[in-house]
């Protein structure tokens, strides 16, 4: 049972927390202290097995307590895969272990521990595929066993509110250890706005639990203090600075192009654009491979120090410290002070230096073993015994019965952020670490990420980086003294035994890695993929150095050729919620100015691009008849509306559109298509000559944003002197359709609406109820009709006014679906619905909009080619027999079992009493009276007949009357 300590002789700043509260762990109530993480509370409560490993279901326990490894992943309040060492525990929290059945203490899946090693290396590629039927069955079992936490499919917390935040400091500093704090100070001294990001709740980094004495520091007042006190003093000095913002409990998880730093805190995403960024993310204790190196009860030096100094936990009864540097003695001292019996310090150095730390341990009577290191640990579910011997694992000389083994064998820099797919770290022979030396512009690195060093050195390096960052100047090469270097032990202590875990996340041992290399996976990237080393929850943060060194060694490369696999963002996992922010609910829903009128009138709505549009108010078939027989009005405010003017406007129109417009007189309107550079029809609309040199282009709802940007792009690239005014947001629009529309509108305006004065395809300006309006005699429905555009602030009042004034006809609103029926009766195509990425204007039957004899225009070359080729398929109107069911949009047209075409739109025509539609058919079926077979989705065939023109009013008399 672990105990809490009340005080600690070596930690002057330590005070034991006052308040305690409880939470549940696998249903049991557990006591926690203020300041605890979930993991520290569990450790204090004596929980030693916190998870089971991925493949072999071996017991795993707390190791580093710093969010690195997979051991402390738990389900917290139904949220899976939470790093329990990174989140503060709260009263009432429900914490559960994962991936063990029935429990982590007794996991029946641990049978894998014995069964799996009997299987060949890479067994999953070599088994279960013969005979063929076996695999689907095997896969079902594999899937049952796979995975860590369970996704909360009940979505108990889906209402969580996520936010995005933005920061624009001059200097962003990541990490608040001595180097980070010094950077902050230097940048503040230079008068800069500084943002400091720290993953932990408290600032100070590793110095928070370090009591080495500060010596020779450029900041004189720190000399003589312990590191703990020194960082406290620094924090006190800068904390309140008006130019500093501190984001604690915030993790910078990625650095993207142009040094965009992304960070996460709780449910927030921070996007940080700084002029310069200083990375001082520090280092973690080195991962060492030896037999049974994954047993619960093996912890890192800093992991243990954090438990003692930050959480007041006595981590074990009896401990052995394995080390290669003075840091191990520091840990031993803290352990001793916490009441743990330290049985031995095992130092890999042949001759540990003579200094206060080494001597101090000797004075306490703790035996020191020189030139030795760990060979293996023993114990079924946790450490019971440790054996030590020479550095190469040959001769085991001693063993100790203990419940804790501390590994303090050097540090591996936190390289992920510095590397992240840009720069591959290289092995620094002198410092015996992997390093990133080649950094992008305005990115600086300082501190332990460059190799461990004295406080004074870390401070100096941080200060220089902060100053360079403030000035955007270059930074001198980082230096280390001989006495700061820590020699690396062999990456694997080859002491025999089967369980040398290189990658604890994915349960990959040295022998598996060696077998993979023998099989031919002799490059570190393929080795990783085949063995799956580094592909687990920590993404190689623990094992990348060991993988690199051992891969080099086992493929016969020299130490300096050791390269890790690519490190990629994010540094630690980031949830979809954080990344999305409130975005799922922020995609704008656009409504027209008349939206509330439609709502009141009981309309059903549909999505048209970003817009909500009335689908219909009554059954669409009924509405369609109403328009044909009476008078209807539809809200068409969602159309794109661009006003084009300027000296080059005619050249621009001739260049962008396939038609000719020089003859288009003021007051006239023309239908136009739009053709891409590939000669493909992708849009249509009308172009109206409003006044001399001013043209008004209407486009479809869905394409309006794309068309505007396309136009602007061409204006810029080809230097047309054209002004583009997007009037879509400020103009509402309606279309009044029906035989009586002229008569109706004439009552509202004081211009002459007669056919002679205002013919088909003309436009006029006028006022209605004192509101300025643009009138266009056009329409999509096949009836006499007028489109009326007006300022959208009058949208609702004019809409109501029209309905009121038209009461006697009666004038009734109709929806988009109704309009689709009407236009189909009339045979009008909708680009993107009736056409696709292969439709050219000739085959789509709108070649009248193309004037190939123009000089140069978008799509000309391809159009010429299409024209020469001639019609192969054609978009035609068709009709069905009145008794036939209506095909689904999109179904196929077949001939002798072969697909020859496709229906694009298909509806029942209420006016005509039979099914009608548009379809792509081969040329030989495109003549009026041809018959073809449409295959419905249910397999039934119906016969359609090609029509010459529109099904309704083929001569267009109603439009022009």
């Amino acid at each position: 049972m672990t105990e809490r300590i009340a005080q600690h002789p070596d930690l002057p700043l330590f005070s034991s927390p006052k308040k305690s509260f409880s939470f549940t762990f696998n249903g049991k109530t557990i006591e926690a202290h203020e300041g605890d993480t979930v993991a520290s509370a569990l450790i204090a409560a004596g929980v030693r097995i916190t998870s089971r490993s991925f493949k072999y279901h071996r017991p795993r326990g707390p190791k580093d307590n710093f969010g690195q490894g997979p051991e402390l992943l738990m389900t917290v309040d139904h949220a899976p895969n939470v790093r329990s060492d990174m989140i503060p525990v709260r009263a009432g929290m429900q914490v559960e272990t994962q991936n063990a059945w029935p429990s982590t203490q007794l996991d029946l899946m641990s049978i894998n521990n014995f069964a799996v090693p009997l299987l060949p290396n890479g067994f999953y590629y070599k088994m279960f595929h013969k005979p063929k039927w076996l695999w689907p069955i095997a896969e079902r079992f594999i899937r049952k066993a796979a995975g860590l936490g369970k996704i909360d499919t009940q979505g108990r917390a889906v209402d969580t509110r996520y936010e995005k935040r933005y920061r624009f400091p001059d200097v962003c500093v990541v990490g608040s250890g001595p180097a980070g704090l010094a950077s902050v100070k230097a940048a503040l001294d230079a008068g800069k706005q500084v943002l400091l990001i720290e993953e932990q709740e408290q600032l100070g980094g590793h110095s928070r639990h370090t009591v080495f004495k500060v010596e020779n520091c450029r900041e004189k007042k720190l000399n003589g203090l312990t590191e703990q006190e020194a960082v406290r003093s620094l924090i006190d000095e800068i904390e309140k600075h008006p130019n500093l913002e501190i984001l604690s409990q915030t993790q910078a998880f990625a650095v993207y192009e142009d040094n965009l730093v992304a960070a996460q805190r709780g449910t927030e995403l921070f996007k940080i654009r700084a002029i310069s960024v200083v990375f001082a993310p520090g280092a973690t204790d080195r991962h060492l491979v030896f037999d049974n190196n994954d047993k619960p009860g093996i912890m890192t030096g800093r992991g243990v120090e954090r438990l003692i100094a930050l959480h007041g936990i006595k981590p074990a009864r009896r401990a052995v410290v394995i080390t290669t540097h003075d840091g191990g003695y520091h840990t031993a001292k803290l352990l001793h002070g916490a009441g743990t019996e330290v049985l031995a310090v095992v130092d890999g150095r042949q001759k540990p230096p003579k200094n206060d730390w080494v001597d101090g341990i000797r004075k306490l009577g703790i035996p020191i073993f020189e030139g030795k290191t760990i060979h293996r640990v023993k114990g079924l579910n946790q450490v019971k015994k440790v054996e030590i011997g020479d550095l190469h694992g040959q001769f085991s000389s001693l063993s100790f019965a203990c419940d804790l083994v501390v590994l303090a064998v050097g540090y591996q820099p936190q390289l992920n952020l510095l590397s992240q797919g840009r720069t591959r770290p290289v092995w620094d022979k002198k410092r015996q670490i992997l390093r990133v030396t080649d950094l992008p512009q305005n990115i600086y690195a300082a501190g332990e990420v460059q190799g461990s060093a004295s406080f004074a050195r870390l401070y100096q390096e941080g200060f220089e980086a902060g100053r360079a960052a403030a000035q955007q100047s270059s930074l001198s090469e980082s230096q280390r003294d001989e006495n700061e270097l820590i020699e690396a032990l062999p990456a694997d202590i080859e002491s025999g035994g089967k369980h040398h875990f290189i990658c604890p996340c994915m349960d990959v041992t040295r022998s598996e890695a060696c077998h993979s290399i023998e099989e031919g996976f002799d490059q570190v990237e393929t080795l990783k993929r085949y063995s799956s080393m580094g592909m687990g929850p920590c993404q190689g943060k623990t094992c990348h150095e060991a993988v690199a060194r051992l891969a080099a060694r086992d493929t016969g490369l020299s130490e300096t050729e050791a390269v890790p696999t690519t490190m990629r963002p994010p540094l630690s996992p980031v949830s979809f919620g954080i990344l999305a922010g409130r975005a799922p609910h922020l995609v704008p829903q656009r409504r027209t100015a008349m939206h509330h009128c439609h709502r009141k009138a009981g309309a059903a709505f549909l999505n048209a691009g970003q817009w909500k549009r009335p689908h219909s108010y009554l059954p669409p078939q009924e509405e369609a008849l109403m328009v044909r027989k009476g008078l209807g009005i539809i809200d068409v405010s969602t159309l794109g509306k661009l006003e084009l003017s300027g000296p080059d406007v005619m050249d621009f129109l001739h260049f962008m559109l396939p038609g000719k417009f020089r003859q288009l007189a003021v007051g006239r309107v023309r239908y136009s298509t739009m053709i891409g550079e590939d000669g493909i029809l992708f849009e249509d609309g009308t172009i109206s000559h409003l006044e001399e040199g001013v043209y008004y282009l209407s486009t479809t709802t869905g394409n309006q944003a794309a068309i505007e940007s396309l136009f602007r792009w061409w204006v810029l690239t080809d230097q047309f002197k054209v002004h583009i005014k997007n009037l879509a947001p400020v103009h509402a629009a309606v279309n009044v359709a029906g035989e009586k529309s002229r008569e109706f509108i004439q009552k509202l305006v004081d211009i002459d609406m007669s056919n002679e004065a205002f013919p088909y395809m003309a436009c006029r300006k006028s006022t209605i109820a004192d509101v300025p309006v643009l009138l266009f005699r056009i329409g999509f429905t096949g009836e006499l009709g007028y489109e009326i555009h007006f300022p959208s602030e009058f949208g609702a009042p004019l809409w109501e006014y029209f309905l009121e004034q038209g009461k006697s006809y009666p004038l009734k609103p109709f929806g988009v679906e109704t309009q689709r029926i009407l236009r189909l009766e009339k045979g009008h195509l909708i680009p993107g619905v009736d056409t696709d990425a292969l439709s050219n204007p000739y085959e789509a039957g709108v070649d009248f909009t193309v004037k190939e004899d123009k000089e140069n225009f978008v799509g000309k070359a391809f159009l010429k080619n299409f024209k020469e080729r001639g019609i192969e398929n054609k978009l035609v109107s068709y009709k069905l027999n009145s008794a036939d069911p209506i095909p689904e949009d999109g179904v196929a047209i077949l001939k002798n079992g072969k697909i020859i075409g496709r229906v694009t739109s298909s509806r029942m025509s209420p006016t005509l009493g039979f099914g009608i539609g548009l379809a792509w058919v081969p040329r030989d079926l495109s003549g009026a009276g041809s018959r073809f077979q449409i295959r419905l989705a249910n397999g039934q065939d119906v016969t359609a007949e090609t029509l010459d023109h529109a099904a309704y009013d083929p001569q267009g008399e109603r439009l022009t009357s």
Partner: protein, 398 residues
């Protein structure tokens, strides 16, 4: 004793056939050549086998394309895949879990319906489902009208699924080596030599290699390699990004693609969700990841599956895609240079094609004739402006 899957060879001065590119397509070509008895073959790979798209893709396989040319070709590929684990004696973990393409607009539902019908007519299993049926198979999907773009329907394709992509690369490589082909890693082709419009060989970092026939199978690098031969083809290389989440207990048992939201996801046998979207909108050879990709992906996936809000992204990466104007490949002899062949234009969708691409390329190389199934993919179609209709179906074409 562990058996070596492939050996390191000395680079010979001459091979009958040289294949540039050690991705799934190059290796499959080599494998099928060796099966046809053509053994004097070398695969030259600049980095390591599977370095390119073949090691970076999200391994979604399906055959329910839109056009007859597409459906026939990809169906051949899926059929080869179905027996490939046994043939190569290597478990490729082909999980035929079924493939959804969701439609959120009427236009896309119409396009999906066309695909369903075209596939039915050619005997490929693919049909439409309504939201209620979708919900039965994907219980966590939000089919309410709450999302910005509600699910209206889906095209379902039972034989579609996912595969262990690296295993395909290794399986073909091992098969090719066993058949006598040589695979050369760390061998970069820097120059293509021709003489009198006939292929001579390639200059590599390990020396000059002459050959009778040369095929470029380099996907995202196709424009570069073709340019070495002075050939310009309409390949435009765009980055495509992907991400993988942490591992969770398998919960999603089908591939889900949303054509309008431009995202897709599936869950592997290890429990990670493998996710991706559309190509980056700009041509680029950099394989950089962006935050914008994560943000848009997350926003869209939560529209479909709100319960994933606390599921976490563990890694993101990018690869290159060689897009063609009609979203269809080029597998073709090049008339201008005797003995030069190109296999490319695999865009975002080429992994599923590896077997058929390799099989037909091998036939083309061995017999000097273009097999019927790949005839529509000649490069001359661009000269004649006769494009294949797959672009019509493409939004996210995984």
């Amino acid at each position: 004793m562990t058996k070596k899957m492939w050996k390191q060879h000395d680079l010979k001065k001459h091979y009958d056939i040289v294949i540039i590119g050690g991705g799934a397509h190059g290796l499959a070509t080599a494998y099928y050549l060796s099966k046809m008895g053509v053994r004097d073959v070398a695969v030259l790979e600049a980095k390591y086998i599977g370095y390119g798209g073949s090691g970076r893709n999200t391994a979604i396989l399906r055959s329910n394309y839109r056009t007859e040319e597409g459906i026939r070709f990809y169906d051949q590929s899926i059929q080869l895949y179905e027996n490939l684990s046994q043939e190569l004696d290597f478990n490729l973990m082909f999980s035929q879990q079924g493939h959804f393409t969701l439609g959120h607009t009427e236009a896309s539902v119409s396009g999906l319906t066309t695909r369903a019908e075209n596939n039915k007519a050619l005997g490929v299993d693919s049909y439409m489902l309504d939201p209620i049926e979708i919900k039965k198979m994907l219980p966590e999907i939000d089919i309410s009208d709450h999302p910005r773009y509600p699910v209206l329907a889906a095209l379902y394709h039972p034989p579609g699924g996912i595969i262990r992509h690296d295993a395909v690369v290794w399986g073909y490589a091992r098969g090719a080596e066993q058949g006598g082909v040589e695979i050369h890693n760390l061998t970069t082709v820097g120059e293509i030599r021709t003489e009198k419009n006939k292929i001579k060989g390639v200059q590599t970092n390990r020396g000059f290699v002459s050959c009778n026939k040369l095929i470029s199978v380099v996907a995202g690098w196709s424009s570069d390699v073709c340019a070495m031969a002075g050939i310009e083809l309409p390949f435009v290389t765009h980055p495509l990004q992907a991400l993988v989440t942490e591992s969770y207990k398998p919960w999603l048992h089908h591939v889900v693609v949303s054509s309008n939201l431009h995202i897709y996801l599936s869950q592997t046998d290890r429990g990670e969700l493998v996710c991706g979207g559309g190509i980056d909108g700009y041509p680029h050879y950099g394989m950089r990841s962006t935050l914008a990709f994560l943000e848009t992906y997350a926003a869209h996936v939560l529209e479909l599956f709100p319960v994933l809000h606390n599921v976490k992204v563990q890694r993101q990466w990018a690869g290159l895609c060689d897009m063609t104007p009609d979203y269809s490949p080029i597998i073709s002899p090049i008339d201008e240079i005797e003995g030069f062949y190109v296999n490319g234009g695999w865009g975002t969708y080429g992994f599923k094609a590896s077997p058929a691409s390799g099989y037909n390329s091998a036939q083309m190389l061995a017999q000097g004739k273009v097999p019927a199934n790949i005839a529509p993919f000649s490069y001359n179609r661009f000269r004649e402006n006769r494009l294949v209709g797959e672009k019509a179906a493409a939004s996210v074409s995984n």
